[in-house]
């Protein structure tokens, strides 16, 4: 674990490792998934990596909700402790950005939906605005939406997803722009949102676009994660 490439911080290396594990689990490989198994034990960066990945850290549990929430096994208890540590240690501050707030809310919503109930209760949900989903110009909206692609997860019915569903055309513009800029992470994140939308224009070529992004991105684990989520949860790009 945590194969640290040259020039990458320990946190980025752990985030990449966990993203790889999640993508593998979403593609149906590697046996049963447990967050605590793909994180390095007893490392300070483990909760930080969970906070960075947000709801995606728990995405494989959305494949089998009954098994995840059915009872507190050793694995789910360990996962619950990890998520709680991430939510407690890295709660957004007073000057946190909307992206940070929504990412936090996404992790919290996923924990509530996909993990057994926490006997101590989960932390409260910080308030976050949705007005920007209606008012942001499309390039800025695309950038923000791609950073919050972990919220494009079945069962997380957030006001953010409802707001972005009204801007499908702008997300499609952002997807094309990101591909042209070779910003594969942004393209994959937007592709995932578009995969969850019902009114994507056929002329966009989303399925072949996602395959293209996956191939061109090389070995970027977070790109692979978004493409795997689009395929597994929404049947696009596979």
């Amino acid at each position: 674990m945590a194969e640290q490439a040259q020039g990458i911080s320990p946190l980025s290396a752990v985030v990449a490792d966990v993203a790889q594990g999640v993508a593998l689990a979403l593609r149906g490989g590697g046996g049963s998934y447990a967050l605590s198994d793909v994180l390095p034990p007893d490392e300070a960066v483990a909760p930080a990596a969970v906070r960075v990945l947000g709801a995606d850290a728990l995405a494989p549990y959305a494949l089998d909700r009954a098994a995840a929430t059915g009872g507190a096994t050793d694995r789910t208890t360990a996962d619950r402790a990890l998520v709680r540590a991430a939510l407690t240690a890295f709660a957004p501050g007073a000057d946190a950005s909307e992206v940070s707030l929504w990412s936090y809310r996404g992790l919290l919503a996923a924990a509530r939906a996909l993990l057994p109930a926490d006997p101590d209760g989960w932390p409260p949900e910080p308030p976050a605005a949705t007005a920007w989903t209606a008012t942001d110009p499309w390039p800025k909206l695309a950038h923000r939406a791609s950073q919050l692609a972990s919220l494009a997860l079945p069962g997380l019915d957030t006001p953010l997803a409802a707001g972005l569903a009204e801007r499908t055309d702008d997300l499609a513009r952002g997807f094309v722009r990101a591909v042209r800029r070779r910003d594969w992470l942004q393209a994959a994140g937007l592709g995932r949102w578009l995969a969850s939308a019902a009114d994507v224009p056929d002329t966009l070529g989303l399925d072949s676009g996602l395959v293209f992004v996956r191939q061109m991105s090389g070995t970027q684990p977070r790109v692979a994660l978004h493409v795997a989520a689009a395929a597994r949860f929404y049947g696009r790009g596979s």
């Binding site: 946190l11 980025s12 300070a44 240690a89 990412s103 390039p139 800029r181 942004q186």
Partner: protein, 62 residues
Amino acid sequence: MNSELTAPVESAVLAAEVEGLVDSAEPEGIYRDTRECGGGLLLAGLLLISPPTPRPTKTDAS
């Protein structure tokens, strides 16, 4: 160094790194709108194929 003294600093650094990864800036790049590029290309083409400026004809007296 005393680990109790360095721990808050390390956690603050880690928290800042987390925020940076959660809300990272868009990579620098120049994005040109296709219609603007097309307009520029058309203008350049028209300038290239435009006829030369008329010059006064030479006379034998001069």
